[in-house]
Symmetry: C2
Subunit: 511 residues, 2 copies
């Protein structure tokens, strides 16, 4: 139920003209279209949706409560799950001494260009500069060496929730590529490779759940190429998402088997049951606030954020729609009562009673913030003992009786959660292009496809692909070889080298 | 029920001789006594109790899972409470640009000597060095100025859980004074001073609860002197604990009213209902991992840590005590079943089934780690369908029937929690010395007392007290003026200046 301004706002699909009308009218709205100016749209929507505030140091961003609560929801899920796996939380220092940082050669080469150095405290220069952790392998493993003596000290499974700093110079983007970000980093050590291998996949499955079941973002599980794996590790698995609007893959989270490489450098040895010396097998794995950025990119639209109900701080926003001659008190009471009823059933509901904004302004405001469901209560609703419910994901409106409110709302939130995933998956799947030759590859790349190609799995060939696709938009690279492999008939050739193909691999431009 | 070694370990009070015997026998134990070498005892107990590992950068420490889980318990409590107060979590960057940092003069003077500066990233020098936050007033308030426009934007109440860096040069001590530490910092802005004043005390009450109800550490609520208040603030309230072993006060947590000083510097203005311009009233408040150090200092003994049940990761450790000819299987099953029964009732219980350690070693090990209750199950216990329960706080042993296990254990844990607080309070109270003259003050200080003295409340007089008590042990200073003031008869004079006293104030040496 609503006035004229409301209908206009409701009817507002992604058409540019109508959108601008709303903006003018309400002072809200976005000036960029997702389809036309994706990058600008993203920068605008994270700010207008109140997830982010830009900060006066480039590449650093303020995470506002609307973003932080999403992070906390994912954190709660993941923390419970890893505790079930007997992984314990700890906290290691922010600072690393240069000697330790440089111990693993490949690793430091991977991170050195991005390391921030503290050289001064107060007015004094430090004798030796100190690095800020870009990740904590080298921070932690000297102590693993100390703590692990015998097989009974294994497995050692630690995790920490913390900030890390990587001073990247290319295109800082909120959530996606920032100079400081929040993440968890798990670091585990096992007696056998089998145990390490198994854990890599258990953790990757949790990352899939975060993306698919919480953020409603479809991902592909797979293995990274040698060129793209973690610096210093044995192999890297990841969940890969895809942004269909700009045709870029994006690494969602990674679960690495480090093998025995760090164990060798940091001398992490143990004595087994038979008194023989062995070296541990290690994993490290992480997901970061990048998750939130991927979610925004996949679901957001020209009206703003679209939050999946499972991570939305406010799942249902209730807006009174009073008229001059109507029973305003009755309408407000009905809104307050709806909040109580829904909250009592564990639904995160809130009413917007502000008297200095029109209902239409509030609709746009909460649409911008991505709240999954809006409930409007006006005079007619009050008279009929009903409420009007509007879905953020597809703008569908229905009137439902106040007697079945909880049941209906629960069902609708559940539908929205699944619909967001289904729609995103259809979009993603529609972008997948299976190719077999270099020409097909180049064409698919120009069409911004997520390219599935038979590959010989040679590092030099990937370097060649990168070199041959270099350009304004960035070079193409391998994203992952999916665990779920299509059949690869005998004699299939690599799209890039013509050598015998060993596996199917996803390729594309990426973040 | 236990063998010979066990009785020896159990009987082990704080006598040096017996203690050393145990150490030799088990490879555990502490080489320092709490009463004889308090500082060394503390450094040793936090490591042997597995809370802390020393790190290769001085003043930085590794928080091991045994410490982290205590932090998480307090975090959970506090986070729920502040969310009830509509305070929202957020995350601001680690880095501050120098211009912003230096905006509030008194504030920057207070922190500048301890600020760590990033001047280099990768191989490049930064054009302008960047500070690492020592606290976030100057990080946050430029954005408060942006976000707050009208009275409807107030109150603005944010909190963040994060790390901060203060590069102190004096005596780094684990938890108590470290160069990086974890804390929460709340930053709120109100339209009126009344609202700000009320919140200062609401938060202080939560800090009291953390100390007294979780950590079983008695604290005094009060107000800091002008000299000791937060740099740049209007007034500071705190909860103050006292370490009777070395006679030092320790600031437990602080809740500051910043007044309008930062609002002025950062131009945080708003328009009230009547369209008039106003400046906000601000608070900031914080508690840190220092809490854990205070708990260790107050409760620990010569056998190791003593953890209050409410914060202990493991509340009950169950140890099988098999004999050669006994029903080992039966004993192990009884232990496993006790874990199940207690865990099912929400008690954090764990059995130590390791076969390479004797029961006696395990007793010492879990005593060192401070587990509140130990349950021993041997052949006699099995036969009598009972268990032996041993309290960590007072070494009391009782045999209880397995049929009432949950009820008994709950009651004992509750008793331990209260007993720890009561004993600590008696100890603290026994150290309080009320004095009226300078001579009495000097004598009480030499006796390591917590000194309550009538004071004129003048800054110059406090500076004088500091100057006159300077020495090896550090100068005395005011700790707080307790909210709970004894009567101050007309004509009472200041202990230090002889001027008319305005209030009772606690004085002492402090951390």
């Amino acid at each position: 139920m609503a006035g004229d301004d409301v209908k206009k706002s409701d009817a507002n699909a992604s058409g540019g003209v109508k959108r601008k009308e709303v903006k003018k009218e309400t002072g809200l709205g976005l000036t960029n279209c997702k389809d036309d100016n994706f990058g600008e749209w993203y920068s605008e929507v994270v700010v207008n949706g109140e997830l982010i505030e830009y900060y006066d140091i480039s590449g650093c961003y303020i995470l506002r409560p609307w973003a932080m609560s999403i992070w906390e929801t994912m954190q709660k899920f993941f923390d419970v799950e890893i505790k079930k796996m007997n992984i314990q939380n700890c906290y290691f220092p922010l600072f690393v001494s240069p000697g330790v940082l440089q111990k693993e050669k490949d690793h430091v080469e991977g991170f050195a260009p991005e390391v921030a150095w503290v050289t001064k405290t107060g007015d004094s220069d430090l004798e030796v500069p100190i690095a800020i952790r870009p990740t904590s392998e080298t921070v932690m493993y000297p102590y693993y060496s100390k703590w692990i003596r015998g097989h009974r000290d294994l497995p050692l499974k630690l995790n920490q929730w913390c900030n890390v700093v990587r001073w990247e110079f290319s295109n800082p983007t909120p959530f996606i590529r920032s100079r400081e970000f929040l993440w968890q980093e798990g670091h585990t050590a096992f007696a056998t490779k089998e145990e390490a291998d198994a854990e890599v996949l258990d953790i990757l499955e949790l990352y899939r759940q975060i993306y698919e079941e919480y953020l409603a973002v479809p991902v592909v599980k797979g293995k990274k190429s040698e060129l793209e794996k973690f610096a210093g590790g044995l192999y890297t698995t990841s969940v890969e998402a895809f942004i269909s609007n700009n045709g870029r893959g994006i690494q969602g989270a990674t679960s690495h088997c480090l093998g025995q490489n760090f164990a060798k450098m940091f001398e992490i040895n143990f004595e087994n049951e038979k008194g023989q010396k062995g070296m541990v097998w290690q994993n490290s794995w992480a997901y970061s606030t990048r998750t939130i950025g991927v979610m925004v990119m996949v679901h957001g639209d020209d009206k703003g954020l679209v939050l999946p109900p499972k991570v939305a701080t406010v799942q249902v926003i209730i807006i009174p729609v009073p008229y001059k001659d109507a029973d305003t008190r009755g309408i407000f009471d009905a809104c307050a009562s709806a909040v109580d009823i829904l909250s009592g059933a564990g639904i995160r509901a809130k009413a917007d009673f502000r008297d200095n904004y029109s209902p239409g302004w509030k609709y746009s405001h909460w649409e911008m913030k991505g709240v999954p469901l809006r409930i409007e209560i006006g005079p007619k609703d009050l008279a009929n003992s009903q409420v009007r419910v509007v879905r953020r994901d597809n703008s569908l409106k229905i009137d439902i009786s106040r007697t079945n409110l909880v049941e209906h709302v629960k069902e609708m939130l559940n539908n929205i959660q699944h619909n967001l995933f289904d729609v995103a998956k259809q979009k993603r799947d529609a972008c997948v292009k299976t190719i077999r030759t270099w020409d097909e590859f180049v064409e698919a790349l120009s069409q911004k496809k997520l390219i599935l190609a038979p590959w010989c799995d040679e590092e030099e060939v990937e370097k060649g692909v990168k070199a041959r696709t270099k350009g304004e938009m960035g070079a193409a690279k391998s994203l992952c070889s999916p665990f779920d492999q299509p059949e690869l008939p005998e004699g299939t050739k690599c799209f890039a080298s013509g050598k015998p193909a060993k596996k199917w691999t996803y390729w594309g431009r990426s973040y």
